[in-house]
Each structure stands twice: as structure tokens, then as C-alpha cells.
């Protein structure tokens, strides 16, 4: 549900950047979305098309780069990859994990004209 708000946040950034960096159209938007962020990529794609209608990014292509969830396991002292927040360490099963990547929702790059 909050993917619509996120798309409005994206549009705000695009409008602000259009002024600062002197462009009038956005053709492609690259987002970096962590697998542990609370974002559903499909809902984001749907919201993106709706929110960008009538804006400088109407019909722009949305490219989503998914980033793996990573954590430090305190039990086995190793950097590990996890699919979900509730996962245990794939090596030792412990839940004492410090997540250190995969929570981001970032606009990375734009193709503009």
C-alpha cells in the first residue's frame, strides 16, 4: 500500500533534480531496492506508472536492482546472506544477527533528456 507514497517520493526527487540538473524528461529510473526493505517491487511498478502520469517521467521505464539482505552473525562471526528478516543464520541457525545491507530504497541513477 505505501508503495504509492514511495512513488510520490520518487516524483518529488525527480522534479527537484530536473531543476538542479536542467533536464525536462526522464526516460529511465534505476532504483536500488533491498530484499529486506518493506517494498513489494510489483506494487512499486504499478504505483510508478500511475503516479508518473502527466509528469516529466510519464512513460518512463522503471528498472529495479534488487539487493540481497546481508547480516553479520554474532554466533559464527561471519558475514551471511539472508532472504527474510526472520531467517536464522544459514551456517549455524542463530538469530543473533546484525543486518547490514538489503534495507535500502534508493534512487540510483536516471536517464534523462
Amino acid at each position: 500500500m505505501h508503495e504509492m507514497s514511495l512513488c510520490e517520493g520518487i516524483l518529488d526527487v525527480l522534479q527537484q533534480q530536473a531543476e538542479q540538473q536542467q533536464f525536462v524528461r526522464v526516460k529511465t529510473v534505476w532504483l536500488e531496492i533491498g530484499k529486506l526493505s518493506s517494498v513489494e517491487p510489483d506494487a512499486l511498478r504499478f504505483g510508478f506508472d500511475v503516479v508518473m502520469k502527466g509528469s516529466l517521467a510519464e512513460s518512463a521505464t522503471l528498472e529495479i536492482i534488487e539487493v540481497d539482505g546481508q547480516a553479520w552473525c554474532f554466533a559464527c562471526q561471519q558475514q551471511i546472506i539472508i532472504e527474510h528478516r526472520y531467517d536464522g543464520c544459514p551456517l549455524c541457525g542463530a538469530y543473533q544477527l546484525q543486518i547490514n545491507d538489503g534495507e535500502q530504497m534508493r534512487i540510483k541513477e536516471l536517464e534523462v533528456a
Partner: protein, 271 residues
């Protein structure tokens, strides 16, 4: 259109504001004012048709919300207002727990409340019946409160210095987890009439919260709810989460909750 920052508040509206205030506190927003005509080709600075090019951005999508949240947080810090963001699914007993907490604390502390719901002012009215100030934000179609709306609600509510401010978020265990409002802590409320595996089903919220209040424990004899298992699930997604077991109806466990509130409020006064 809001007067102070010229924003278009969209579907959200703040209810409980029937007269004009003089707002003399410095709650400033950094707004960008967009002039659409500058975006049209006729007014663009480039003399020829722009070729396609790449622009590096590297900005957080929630950057704007986070900026507003920082403004709110700074306001709370300056005025020594201890702010909690209460989150839960609908029907967890959030409002009952809040009214009970207010009844027990209002003699000692100045308290005010921002209520968030999609529609109706029912909850703000329940809060006002306890004798404390409350404003209602109706989010319309929105599923969460955002930091910008909270900034405006603070202007309307004008919480006292050195006070306790509760923000009761929209009943939803998903979306409010992503939106920082400037609060000191998110407090997640889960009732024993729900499933004990909710921390696993909605891990983002339990990871974002610092405290879990397990409510309606007076009903434990009548439901199949495994408290130990629930706490274990919550700690899986958030090893640091504090857990308090309470009943808003019987008052069981509330002494510890009040003790935590008063202690945390005292720490906030130090600044």
C-alpha cells in the same frame, strides 16, 4: 493547501482545528517550490534539444520524509517532548491502552495525543474524554502517518514543553514501519487474540519497534496463544526488543509500562 508551507496536503486532513492560532514556534519545513514552467522546453536553459544523458542521484526514496522527521525530532528535543509512535494491527486495543495509560499518568505528566485513522474522529474524541489535548489526522486513502503531517499536527496541537506526546498510528502492521515521524521510539502493540507468529509475518514492524506491548493478557486462559513462542519470534527479528505483558482492561502489568514511560521521559528531559 496549507498556509504555512504552501503544501498540498492531498487526502490527509487534520481534524480538531476550529479556530485560528498564532503559531509562534519555529517549526520550519524545507520545501522545494517547483515552478512547472521552468521544466517546459521553451523555458529550459539549454539552447538546443537535450540529448539523452545519465544522471547519478543516489538518494533515499524516503529522503523527504526523513528530512521532515528530523525537523520534528529537533523540535521535540528543543521542547523536551518525549514522543512515542504507537503501531499495531486494527483491534489490538491501542486506543484502550492509551486511554488507560493517560488516566493513570495525567496527574503526574502533561500529555497530548495525535490520532491517526483513515476516517472518523472517534479515537480523538475518546482521548479528549480523558481530559488531555488530542488532534485527529485522517489519512483518507493513506495507510500510514508521515512526518510532514505530524509537523502540521504539532502546530495545531501545540504540546506543552517537557510533556509526553503519543502518536497513535493508523492500524496497520506494514506501512507505518517505513515512515520515521521523529519519535523517540516505536512501540508495537500485539494482543493475545491475534496469532503469536505476527512478529514473523510482519517482521519489518517488529524490527523497527523498540518495545512490544503484549496486550489483553487477561484473555490468555481463553485463547491458544503461546507467549514464550511469541516473544521468541519477536526476538528473532529484533534481538534488542523489550517486551512488556499488559492488560488495559484489568490493569495487570501496567505498573512496569508506566515506570518505563516515566523513566524514559525523565531521560528525555536531560536532553
Amino acid at each position: 493547501m496549507c498556509i504555512d508551507c504552501g503544501c498540498n496536503a492531498g487526502d490527509a486532513k487534520i481534524v480538531g482545528h476550529s479556530h485560528d492560532h498564532d503559531h509562534d514556534h519555529a517549526h520550519s519545513h524545507d520545501h522545494e517550490h517547483h515552478h512547472e514552467n521552468r521544466l517546459s522546453p521553451a523555458h529550459a536553459h539549454a539552447p538546443t534539444i537535450n540529448p539523452a544523458r545519465m544522471v547519478k542521484i543516489e538518494q533515499d526514496i524516503l529522503g523527504k520524509n526523513n528530512q521532515y522527521a528530523q525537523v520534528n525530532r529537533e523540535y521535540f528535543r528543543q521542547h523536551k517532548i518525549f514522543t512515542l509512535n504507537l503501531v499495531s494491527s486494527p483491534g489490538s486495543g491501542k486506543t484502550s491502552l492509551l486511554t488507560k495509560t493517560i488516566e493513570l499518568l495525567k496527574a503526574e505528566l502533561s500529555i497530548s495525543v495525535i490520532e491517526g485513522d483513515q476516517q472518523t474522529s472517534n479515537d480523538a474524541e475518546r482521548i479528549r474524554a480523558t481530559g488531555v489535548k488530542a488532534v485527529q489526522i485522517n489519512t483518507g486513502k493513506g495507510c500510514h502517518l508521515d512526518a510532514h503531517g505530524i509537523g502540521h499536527a504539532i502546530e495545531t496541537l501545540a504540546p506543552e514543553d517537557n510533556s509526553l506526546l503519543f502518536i497513535e498510528n493508523v492500524g496497520n502492521l506494514v506501512c507505518p514501519s517505513a515512515f520515521d515521524l521523529g519519535e523517540a521510539h516505536k512501540v508495537v502493540i500485539l494482543s493475545v487474540t491475534e496469532g503469536e507468529d505476527k512478529p514473523l509475518k510482519y517482521p519489518d514492524m517488529f524490527a523497527a519497534a523498540d518495545i512490544m506491548l503484549l496486550n489483553k493478557i487477561d484473555l490468555l486462559p481463553h485463547v491458544d496463544f503461546d507467549v514464550t513462542q511469541c516473544i521468541e519470534y519477536a526476538r528473532r527479528v529484533n534481538p534488542r526488543i523489550k517486551v512488556l505483558q499488559v492488560s488495559a482492561r484489568t490493569g495487570e502489568g501496567l505498573a512496569l509500562w508506566l515506570q518505563w514511560l516515566k523513566a524514559s521521559h525523565s531521560v528525555a528531559l536531560i536532553g
